[in-house]
């Protein structure tokens, strides 16, 4: 309940700031007005069906990209982090490729996969992949020796060590990295969606409206914010379920 009140207060403050910014911009640059919250939200209502279509297209791409990158980066990151020999050989490759801005590959991906969903999903998955890989690797590298000894002394197989120690110990870091990279993933999705000439997605919706109907373009930005918030909350919920132990305090002494 307390959290809902905090969120609601923050939202009100943001809307007030937005309205203020809109008034200031409109006073200084009357030829390029910045729509206020009222204009944007009324356009959300007015264009609801069309927005919904684009919203769902973007959401689906983000989710699929997230699942693909998780499925690839988590096992690989945990393996590299936990197996020292593998770490020695693979880590230099990661450190060399990690700083390359993945967006640099976007035109190549369009040539490779065409302008459809595959490219848009691939570019977001590529961004998320590296973020998740690096944090899974780091977490698997810094396990508590006591936890490992504890299961090894009971005769755990290699798989059991991953299942009972490496994965659960790294999970909070993995989920944090997913949460942190949502913003980046959305930015890259926007770029991918607007680079294509046609198609669905909030990026395309915003781009096509910005020059003709600014109010409805901002309705698209509001929809993007809602999508981001939805993903943040979803990951929070997943974390509270999967990492319940992190949220328990010292209840009994």
């Amino acid at each position: 309940m307390k959290q809902i009140v905090t969120y609601a207060t923050s939202l009100v403050i943001l809307l007030v700031l937005w309205q203020a910014a809109s008034l200031v911009v409109n006073a200084i640059y009357p030829s390029t007005p910045l729509p206020g919250p009222y204009q944007a939200f009324s356009q959300v209502v007015k264009n609801f069906q069309e927005l919904q279509r684009h919203f769902l297209a973007s959401a689906a791409r983000l989710l699929v990209a997230m699942l693909i990158s998780l499925a690839l980066a988590v096992p690989l990151g945990l393996l590299i982090g936990h197996e020292r020999t593998l770490d020695r050989f693979v880590s230099p490759m990661i450190y060399i490729t990690y700083p390359i801005p993945q967006v640099a590959f976007i035109l190549f991906l369009f040539l490779l996969f065409g302008t459809g969903n595959a490219t848009k999903v691939a570019i977001v998955a590529l961004v998320l992949f590296f973020q998740i890989l690096v944090s899974a690797q780091g977490a698997a590298r810094n396990l508590s020796p006591e936890h490992l000894t504890s299961v090894r002394s009971a005769g755990a197989t290699r798989w059991q060590v991953y299942r009972h120690v490496v994965f659960p110990a790294a999970l909070p870091s993995i989920l944090t990295s997913v949460r942190v990279s949502i913003g980046m993933g959305m930015a890259f999705l926007y770029i991918a969606e607007t680079t294509a000439r046609l198609g669905t997605g909030l990026g395309m919706y915003i781009k096509s409206r910005m020059l003709v109907s600014r109010d409805s373009a901002f309705a698209g930005i509001v929809a993007m914010a809602i999508l981001g918030l939805f993903l943040y909350v979803a990951i929070d919920v997943v974390e509270h379920i999967l990492c319940r132990w992190k949220y328990t305090g010292s209840r009994s002494r």
Partner: protein
């Protein structure tokens, strides 16, 4: 029976190897208890890890039931310094972990031992929600869940307050007498060694060698702490350690 002959353990390899244990020998008959005492960092834990099959000796041998130790085995349980509980598992899951890893859970489970140790009501709690004493008891429940023939303990009561420590020492003693497992304890605490060890091996600074073996056959009762025998053993241990 657990016995070691000229047990030597090095950490690292080649020119970087550091000797932790240097030619230790001992023999523990089934159902008896043996305590190793020595200064912190002297290599005591390495001896325990070699018996548990987590470390291979560089020279010499360690055998359980006449067989050389080649890896962890079901009949030997290890209790670590901070109980070794996994924070992401509940009390129930932690206590059943050894059985689960051995493929015996849920056919066998730790329910009875949890109840016996008074942990039945906190089964669904996570370690972070427990007091230190309760955590140690969960560690004991996990170790005893597989009904081991030998229990190895690596400073199991470090960082506990005196009263809790004595209460858990009493619990160890009671369980050891009831269940007749062999007990090997590694500690730097003189009173703990004197209370729980039928025989106490005093080790030197690293690399650990046997400095003296102190017999302590009178131990075994809960009021031993108040006895003359206990004071004598403790004084003898202190004297040897200070030499």
């Amino acid at each position: 029976m657990i016995d070691a002959n000229a047990l030597t353990i090095d950490h690292g390899r080649g020119g970087h190897a550091v000797r932790a244990v240097d030619g230790i020998g001992f023999c523990l008959e089934k159902g008896r208890s043996l305590a190793f005492i020595g200064p912190s960092g002297c290599g005591k834990t390495s001896i325990l890890f070699a018996i548990a099959g987590l470390l291979s000796p560089s020279a010499g041998s360690v055998r359980v039931g006449g067989q050389p130790v080649t890896g962890p085995r079901r009949e030997i349980a290890l209790i670590l310094q901070n109980a070794g509980l996994l924070p992401w598992k509940t009390v129930w899951q932690n206590a059943n972990l050894s059985l689960l890893l051995a493929g015996e859970y849920p056919g066998h489970h730790a329910g009875p031992i949890l109840d016996e140790l008074g942990l039945g009501s906190v089964r669904d709690r996570f370690p972070a929600e427990l007091s230190e004493g309760m955590k140690r008891r969960v560690g004991i429940a996990r170790a005893l869940s597989t009904a081991p023939e030998a229990l190895l303990m690596d400073e199991p009561l470090a960082s506990l307050d005196t009263l809790t420590r004595e209460r858990i020492q009493d619990l160890f003693l009671t369980l050891w007498r009831e269940r007749r497992f062999s007990l090997i304890l590694v500690t730097h605490d003189i009173e703990e060694a004197a209370f729980l060890g039928q025989e106490i091996v005093v080790l030197t600074e690293r690399p650990a060698k046997v400095k003296a073996t102190v017999p302590n056959e009178e131990m075994g009762s809960l009021d031993y702490r108040q006895s003359e025998g206990f004071r004598r053993t403790a004084a003898r241990l202190r004297e040897v350690l200070e030499q």
